[in-house]
Amino acid sequence: MNVQRWVVRVGVLLVLVALPRMIYPILAVDILTWGLFALAFDLVFGYAGLLSFGHAMFWGTSGYVTANVLLRTGLPVPVAILAGTIAALVLALPTGYLSIRSAGIYFSMITLAFAQMVDFIARQADRFTGGDNGLPGIPRPPLGPIQFDNPLHLYYFTLALAALGYLIAARATESPFGQALRAIRDNRVRAQSVGYNPRVQMLVAFVISAGLSGLAGGLHTVGHGVVSLDAVNWTTSGIVVMMTLLGGTGTLLGPLVGATLVLLLQDALAFSTSASGVVTGAVFALTVLFFRRGVVGTLLALDLRRRTGERLIGPAK
């Protein structure tokens, strides 16, 4: 099983390395950044069972901090991204601590509330965020031989950092910590009775998730050279949920697959003049109704059946 898993991972990595030759490189960068963001979101949703409706606050805060570091100081790009990630982590501590106290739909509502407050601050602090105009034309000074204006350089730089993010997520979910999370998700009371402390574990998961969202947000801002209020809008949080669901929650590659599908769909719709909302909404609704396991989840279930003859019963994980 371990060998198979690593074969799949290496395979995916090879595809990703070749990706910019197959599609427009900037779109490929988007696939990586949104894919990482969706993975980060899924740490909390798929593994800890909490639907956060406010993850845009980490992605966006990091984006704005990254942008400001690049615009106002001459510091190198990785430093700016690091600053953004740290900002997201800092934001995660109080918001996570307060949100974790609630469960289920209340958790979603409170994360939404915090995200709306961040949105409000972003709107008001227009000296740092550009308000409704956003911050366009962010400079990206070269890092040694890496020229960020060159789409291929940008892509491979992003791939390296996104892979790092993926490894962190993999480590978190496949460790005993990850198992504890799953136990808490499936039955919080029982998990507590065997000695896990749900609050602490979930807060840790939340913070890691926020940090990776921040990393993704910083990479996204660098990749586009622009950040705007969309980054903190609640619909951004919604898009990442859709990506995760479509690709398969509770899997490591699912969010990436979901992000790819959604971005390719959006890309195709960009060249049409009509009905994009109907198509997007229908894809979403149909996925939730009939395809909850998502692409990767369905593949895993088929694989399980093939190997063991077992069927995965009960609600999709």
């Binding site: 409000f120 008001q124 909404g281 109704l289």
Partner: protein, 289 residues
């Protein structure tokens, strides 16, 4: 001081809309625990049905007031029967996501038919113009809207809290298994209640058509505010949602007067505070954990 009083009074009018919308959501979300994100889209459909009845069939406001909520209620029941009920066994998040997708489809569908700009709609002649209340000269239609809102909210509260019908509904949501054992068709009741909640959203839409722009996105910003109101009021409490609706209307009006940028965010700050300090809501009965 008079200006403040005027703002408060005006806030009550807005509160009437929040209350009516939240009432529908309180019934669906609070009682059935269905996270119906499409509630705002149903409100919009109520307004557009009113417009279409006038434009296509020449039917006036009063007829629309009777027909449109029924139409939206039926549509809601259709959604519930065909799609939403499939997800009851799953965590509430899934219905949130499904109804989020449905919202996109409904809004964009209306946009494809009617365009993104608004459609004109005027108050009926009997309610046009303004009434002099002494301290303020206020549009008559808005007074009518407050009136309808108070009546409908009171009636709904009474039905649910004080009649046998309400007792059955509450039994269905609190303990479906035992209720079924009494020979009550729970799933039929759930559909009916969902339809009723949808009809309330549609009614709010009818009342909105003469005062607010009738466009496909008119419900989209309203929906998260409405959720916030229901959460603050407390899930399971009809009275809580209604009172919170009015209170929020007044608070937002005062906020707009003192510091406008905060108006849209105030309610989320309130919601966060309530969830942290009193998770079951101001009037809620259940624990939020």
């Amino acid at each position: 001081m008079t200006l403040l009083f005027i703002q408060v009074f005006n806030g009550l009018v807005n509160g009437a809309f929040y209350a009516l919308l939240s009432l529908g959501l309180a019934v669906i979300f609070g009682m059935l625990r269905i996270v119906n994100f499409a509630h705002g889209a149903l409100y919009m459909l109520g307004a557009f049905t009113t417009y279409a009845l006038g434009e296509r069939f020449g039917l006036g406001f009063w007829t629309s007031l009777a027909i449109a909520p029924l139409a939206v209620g039926l549509f809601g029941m259709l959604l519930e029967r065909t799609m939403i009920r499939r997800l009851y066994d799953l965590p509430a998040s899934y219905n949130l996501l499904l109804t989020f997708g449905l919202t996109l489809v409904i809004q964009d569908g209306v946009r494809l038919i009617y365009g993104i700009s608004g459609q004109p709609y005027a108050p009926p002649p009997q309610l046009a113009g303004a009434t002099n209340l002494g301290f303020i000269v206020f549009p008559t239609f808005r007074l009518f809207a407050i009136g309808i809102s108070v009546v409908v909210c009171s009636l709904t509260w009474f039905i649910i809290e004080r009649t046998r019908v309400g007792a059955v509904i509450r039994a269905c949501t609190e303990n479906p298994t035992i209720t079924r054992a009494f020979g009550i068709d729970v799933s039929l009741w759930v559909t009916a209640v969902f339809g009723f909640g949808s009809a309330l959203a549609g009614l709010a839409g009818v009342l909105a058509a003469p005062i607010y722009s009738v466009d496909p996105l008119m419900g989209s910003e309203l929906i998260i505010t409405t959720f916030a109101v229901v959460v603050i009021g407390g899930l399971g409490s009809i009275l809580g949602s209604v009172i919170t609706g009015y209170a929020v209307g007044v608070l937002v009006a005062i906020g707009s007067a003192l510091y406008p940028p905060i108006a849209n965010t105030l309610i989320f700050i309130l919601m966060a505070l309530v969830l942290l300090l009193r998770p079951s809501g101001l009037f809620g009965l259940q624990e939020a954990r």
